[in-house]
Symmetry: C2
Amino acid sequence: MFKVGLLGLGTVGTGAVKILQDRLGRNPLLAEIEIAKVGVRDLAKARQVELAAGVLTQDLDSIVADPEICIVVELLGGLEPARSLILEAIAHGKHIVTANKAVIARYGPEIYEAANQAGVYVLLEAAVGGGIPIIKPLKQSLGANRIASIVGIVNGTTNYILTQMTQAGAEFADVLADAQRLGYAEADPGADIDGLDAADKIAILASLGFGGRVKREDVYCEGVRGVSAVDIAYAERLGFTVKLLAIASGQQGDLSESLQLRVHPTLLPKEHPLASINGVNNGILVSGDPLGEVMFSGPGAGAGPTASAVVSDILNIVGILSSSDENPALDPLLSCVHQHYCQITPIEELQTRFYARFLCRDLPGVIGHLGTCFGDHRVSLESIVQIGFQNETAEIVVVTHQVREGNFRAALAEIQKLEGIKAIASVLRVLSSQEV
Amino acid sequence: MFKVGLLGLGTVGTGAVKILQDRLGRNPLLAEIEIAKVGVRDLAKARQVELAAGVLTQDLDSIVADPEICIVVELLGGLEPARSLILEAIAHGKHIVTANKAVIARYGPEIYEAANQAGVYVLLEAAVGGGIPIIKPLKQSLGANRIASIVGIVNGTTNYILTQMTQAGAEFADVLADAQRLGYAEADPGADIDGLDAADKIAILASLGFGGRVKREDVYCEGVRGVSAVDIAYAERLGFTVKLLAIASGQQGDLSESLQLRVHPTLLPKEHPLASINGVNNGILVSGDPLGEVMFSGPGAGAGPTASAVVSDILNIVGILSSSDENPALDPLLSCVHQHYCQITPIEELQTRFYARFLCRDLPGVIGHLGTCFGDHRVSLESIVQIGFQNETAEIVVVTHQVREGNFRAALAEIQKLEGIKAIASVLRVLSSQEV
């Protein structure tokens, strides 16, 4: 019997307990797992699951130090006390299962160094993509490949919001309020809508796919607050869908391991495989050589899917423990052995296409001035269209060919000063079908 | 250093050697793998890869018996000598990696029994879905779930043919001839177009997903020879796409482990996630509790993708061997420990919708007779439409509600005898959006 201690009994913890208590039709190895202790803040709170007397405790330190427990499942979320409890558990020789992307994205090197020294696993399938298997496939199934890119819709809240904005033509603030009412967005939605959650996740995926450590602060990050219904409508007309993408990609043909790491709303051609990932679903596209492209998609959040991932990690550790002697070495595919940090390409060096919307005074020649500014900075345009005219303001939408982001920004800085330009209403990147 | 012996150096074998010889940017564990021997039929044949002197051999028995080799990679395909060589290698204590769905679907129990006794792994990621990770995710990532269904497009050749028929409105025979010219279909295409390859694969997936052995002959199997351009066109009009689906599903709410196992061309609602899997791609949708639905999609065949899966299996074994002592027990998640056989529901008991096309003499009342026959057998119709009238023949297309297949067939047997019916031109099953 393998004894497990849970830290936290929120929705995911409750989901995990439900699986462990209702084993019929699931993997028979579940019978080897016993929930020894569950750490909670409030013993008196009503729970959806029944636990034997003495299992619930407020003393989380006693769980991570319990000599009977071999696997600690951290489901607290947030940075502290999660980080300290994980490190303490590792110091006591416990294997760790966690759904905590924030703590791994920020303290991964510290945690993995401690885990490698202690000879324990830190598994985190639930940290990215909810119930979608993506962490273990990257570790165990795709390692033969030279990964070219990982592109994902990895935040369900923002995908729900963008899908609603697209389907209902609604504005961001209204959809967000709806999403909060429905429980798809949190009261404090910043981590989701500012792209921080997606950035945590792509940092983790990049590290696994490209085999190096990634500094969380190296992920360039723009959220969806700036996306308006108007832009989504124009994008539709141009054949694009707007999605918040998390992207990790190597430089084409460059093996120096320099990565682009970025999260931003993106115009995606409607025929792109990720364009049809809607609502709270997640989708992750991995490209590699000689693999080509594979996609993983499904429910990216929610109690059930996330609990599925958490329990699968517990099963993995139990499978390994039940097949090995007292002190086996770590399986290098399942542990995290990177020592070096990936080199990150600054966002200015990104080669991408842009969509930009300008509010202009309808002065004759403003399109010409725009074109000249872009041309001066070697930004080649695919289209430049005056869309509407209202209240003495004309809207001009520009789509560029592939350009260096630094050049595009320099052009924008100059355009902002043009007499005919009232405002740069929005700037979004565009993914080509051929690209990533 | 872990020495590997390859049986076969066709496209997949060559792809695997290329990966192993060009390690930059791939998992560093590849450096621990040495290609010790490669068994081929013809030593003189020109090869795309260079191998050290003495590595190529025609003596396949010497590979499976070589005491230096710890992993034997079987890439011969077909039943014999693949089966015998695998068993011989196991008897010599070698771990096995294979891409051979036919041999595993038919001799799985014999092979796994031998492997369990010898304490070796038999990994087969490449056997289903080419480069798409699906075997390991089912074993390692989804085990916490009670699997409800596995529905897949798992044969690239037939998917290519159906996609071409749909997009070009072409007839089966013409598209098949094209596919053969392009190398997407073999000269003897029977295994693909009669659904046998897909049946092998769903037998394997079902066994993994539902945790029991599956007899290959229990898989009900219809190929795509009977699908005509006319049916595809009618399906399109009705909002469906025609796909060859391989389906394993439990009875709803029934935990007796009785499975439906079937391969047949299917009308799929266009909004179904598998409807957009086109060309030679594969897609596999797994439903479970509490997971919900996850989908895996990508290149289902080809040298590169399949080699990616083969080498990932080699890496997995090397990872385990490099972290364990001399004689570790098998990880129960990665080995195959089922003893019982899944109970299979006969196809007559299937509850499904049907599409049928009848050629009729335009006798007044033929629609009435059809309706009466179906009604007598408790087959409730969603629509019955006379589509065309040509050469004294009317075409009537019927779509049913969910019915018991046995009842539907009994109705058809009676309909065949009706005076107004010239022929039952085609019968296809229809998947509801809600279903699986």
